[in-house]
């Protein structure tokens, strides 16, 4: 299904929950809605589904205006954060329920339920009740029910947020393969930048009810149009420092001076803001080009495979990434290294001026 939003907006009382935005989702595409809590992700999804009517603008399915059409007459399925299943029905009956409503015959129902259950690896639990399953299995059941319906538009609202991180890791990788068939237009809401990157496809970045940017996920991550968008799409947050551009250097407000690189040469001189992602501020000096920055350790945040060192530097906090697991005593002196080739330059009002060069990840799913 092609889903088109034309200037849709949502106002509730005096509050503007969603500012007017336009978006076109291609048939079979995978689309991530990325934003923090209260960004407007759920509001937008409810408008897409027809659960709510927009206060302004139009919604079109394959070019046909469906703005006033209720969800019951739309070609749509939805999965929520909470694991929603019929508690008195077995997993099989839960998955079969949309097909029964469509009046499909017994043989077709059986075949489709079994195929979908196999895809989501819940075949052994078909005879159980949802309450007898783990959280991860319950959510697989809810996803299977949404998938089996064969709707043109599938909406998933933070479907993995209530699962523990190991289950999230596994299910996320599987979901990508399940949706790779390209038949359904999928919209997937998340607060997590990592999740958006892993799922790929296209991304629409939302913040406080406004659309900040839309495009191919890799493009938006590597060339965020604004500082605001870069912040929403960075975890941990991007380091931001006021700076002055001259004809051969960029001088950060703390006194650090970085040589210009291919991407930020020949920019007009003057004040700007410099953004450095945590992985371009490293504890290990990988090359002589890197410029040292001194600070005091505020915290080592350890993710299991990598360490993010939060350091006090003048009156700001910077975050540097370190491969592996390391502890640094709070308050100890530390030197980290900034990569001049990898800095983002924003105007003083936060518009992107220069982004580091990057090559599109042409290698995804080679086989």
């Amino acid at each position: 299904m092609t889903l088109t939003l034309e200037g849709v907006a949502k106002r509730v009382g005096a509050e503007q929950h969603l500012h007017p935005l336009s978006l076109e989702l291609q048939p079979g595409s995978f689309n991530v809605l990325l934003g923090r809590t209260l960004a407007g992700k759920t509001t937008l999804m409810r408008l897409m589904a027809g659960l709510d009517a927009p206060s302004a603008g139009r919604v079109l399915e394959n070019g046909k205006d469906v703005t006033g059409t209720s969800v019951r007459h739309r070609d749509v399925a939805m999965v929520y954060q909470q694991f929603i299943n019929y508690p008195a029905m077995t997993v099989f009956e839960n998955i079969a329920s949309p097909l029964r409503r469509q009046g499909k015959d017994k043989g077709e129902i059986d075949a489709k339920v079994r195929r979908t259950a196999a895809m989501l690896r819940i075949t052994p639990y078909l005879d159980r009740l949802p309450a007898e399953l783990s959280g991860g299995q319950q959510q697989r059941c809810a996803i299977a029910r949404a998938l089996v319906k064969g709707a043109g538009l599938l909406l998933l609202d933070e479907p993995l947020v209530n699962l523990d991180y190991k289950l999230r890791e596994e299910l996320r990788a599987e979901l990508r393969e399940i949706f790779a068939d390209g038949k359904t237009t999928v919209v997937y809401a998340t607060t997590e930048p990592q999740e958006a990157l892993i799922l790929g496809g296209n991304v629409t970045v939302l913040h406080e009810g406004r659309m900040l940017q839309a495009g191919a996920t890799g493009d938006v991550f590597h060339t965020p149009a604004s500082l605001e968008c870069a912040q929403v799409f960075s975890d941990p947050p991007m380091n931001v420092v006021d700076a002055i551009l001259t004809n051969d250097r960029v001088a950060l407000s703390d006194g650090t001076s970085l040589p210009l690189s291919a991407h930020d040469r020949n920019l007009p001189a003057g004040p700007c803001k410099v953004g450095i992602r945590a992985n371009h501020l490293t504890v290990l000096r990988r090359s002589e080009r890197l410029v040292p920055v001194k600070g005091k350790v505020a915290l080592s945040e350890i993710s299991g495979s990598e360490t993010f060192v939060h350091l006090r530097h003048g009156d700001t906090t910077l975050i540097a990434r370190e491969e592996g697991v390391h502890s640094h005593p709070i308050g100890s002196d530390i030197q980290v290294y900034a990569d001049p080739d990898r800095i983002f330059v924003f105007s003083s009002v936060g518009k992107l001026v220069a982004a580091p060069n990057w090559r599109r990840g042409a290698l995804r799913n080679i086989a």
Binding site: R36, T37, D164, Y165, K166, E169, T191, E192, P193, Q194, L197, I198, G218, F221, S234, D235, P236, R277, A278, N279, A298, L299, S300, E301, I302, S303, G304, S305, E306, H310, R321, E323, G324, V325, H326, S327, P329, I330, G331, G361, L363, R364, N365, I366, A367
Partner: protein, 362 residues
């Protein structure tokens, strides 16, 4: 603050437990140091809450003893043990001001007013609550309420230990790190014995000096975050710590190497010596994605593989490679080249681990 000892501690909800699976907490003897921060980490149902309840005195274990500073407290109530607890959801008095909430545990114990005031202001300062001291608690955000809850746990300086049960559940994901930092700072400053229960690796590893990883009722490893990452003593630790977890492949043993589908992979000396003479059991070779090296075939010691996918994770890349029927993950830096056709991997001996029946043998 107290040293906490577990002496042959175990707990079963069965009246006559006979096999290991009958135990919610399997037999454990250990000593936890005074003034250190510990985390109990594991998935739901692993036994971490059972152990926490035994430490706090909410549950009397079916076997063994708990000692605080050498004193048997197995049958003492939480009050008698002098424990402070912080729960998943804020436990505060909505009608009281923030100040009164923080002062409550002290006033309850007839602490002199001057000491109460000093302590309350100290804790408020540490948790960034100073500006809110005069506000009524009910007007505050869930984040601030949970900070008060933590403050109430931290305000008494005479407790044996402070126990935290998933305290950051209600906190907005984007502000969690701020509270983690606060807790860490408070710990480094006051050297309190703290025990923190969570299923979240980031919280456990960031908070604790030592993390106890629990799995199916057993404590499979107690170690520093670095030890859990670099030297997982159980395959579950390898899997649960790290995203993604350790790569594991079934193997057999040669002289000084492991054989995976007939391919020789060198083993560290310690694995060779401790594996020597052991017969039977299920052997697995493990290596973390961060330690596998992706290179070109032809490099000394490199084994040809097929690269089947590369994910851009933003701060790094993750390659998926196939070695016969095994799928392995390899973590790469953003700028590292990926050979499209003649890729190969190397297993640095230092980081190659050998497991027998899920336990590390070298």
């Amino acid at each position: 603050m107290a040293t906490i000892q577990f002496d042959n501690l175990g707990h079963s909800y069965h009246p006559h437990p006979s096999k290991p699976e009958d135990y919610a907490l399997r037999r454990l003897s250990q000593e936890w140091e005074d003034g250190k921060a510990y985390a109990l980490l594991g998935p739901s149902g692993c036994g971490k809450s059972t152990l926490l309840n035994i430490i706090s005195g909410l549950l009397v274990p079916s076997e063994g003893r708990v000692l605080f500073d050498g004193l048997d407290v197995t049958r003492c109530t939480p009050e008698e043990r002098n424990i402070a607890q912080v729960f998943q959801f804020p436990v505060i008095y909505d009608t009281m001001t923030v100040y009164e909430n923080l002062a409550f545990p002290l006033r309850n114990r007839k602490v002199p007013a001057a000491d109460v005031d000093r302590r309350v202001r100290q804790v408020a300062e540490a948790l960034d609550l100073t500006a809110d001291l005069k506000k009524r608690a009910q007007r505050l955000t869930p984040d601030a309420k949970q900070k008060i809850s933590m403050g109430r746990g931290l305000v008494r300086s005479d407790v044996a230990a402070i126990l935290f049960d998933e305290p950051l559940t209600v906190i907005d994901p984007h502000t969690k790190w701020i509270l983690r930092r606060k807790l860490r700072q408070i710990h480094e400053e006051y050297r309190l014995t703290m025990i923190y229960v969570t299923h979240d690796q980031v919280e456990a590893l960031t908070f604790a000096d030592k993390v106890a990883v629990m799995y199916e009722g057993a404590m499979v490893q107690l170690g520093t975050p670095q030890e859990l990452f670099e030297n997982p003593e159980h395959t579950f630790v390898g899997y649960f710590i790290g995203s993604p977890g350790i790569n594991l492949m079934p193997c057999t043993l040669g002289n000084d190497h492991a054989l995976v589908d007939g391919i020789a992979i060198p083993l560290p000396d310690r694995a060779v010596s401790s594996a020597g003479g052991r017969v039977g059991g299920k052997f697995e070779l493990g290596i973390r994605p961060e330690f596998l090296e992706l290179t070109r075939s032809g490099t000394a010691g490199a084994i040809p593989v097929q690269v089947t996918g590369v994910d851009d994770l933003g701060t790094s890349k993750l390659a998926t490679v196939r070695l016969n029927n095994h799928t392995l993950k390899v973590r790469l830096s953003e700028e590292q080249e990926i050979p499209a056709l003649d890729a190969a991997i190397r297993f640095p001996t230092r980081w190659t681990k050998l497991y027998r029946d899920s336990h590390l043998i070298g």
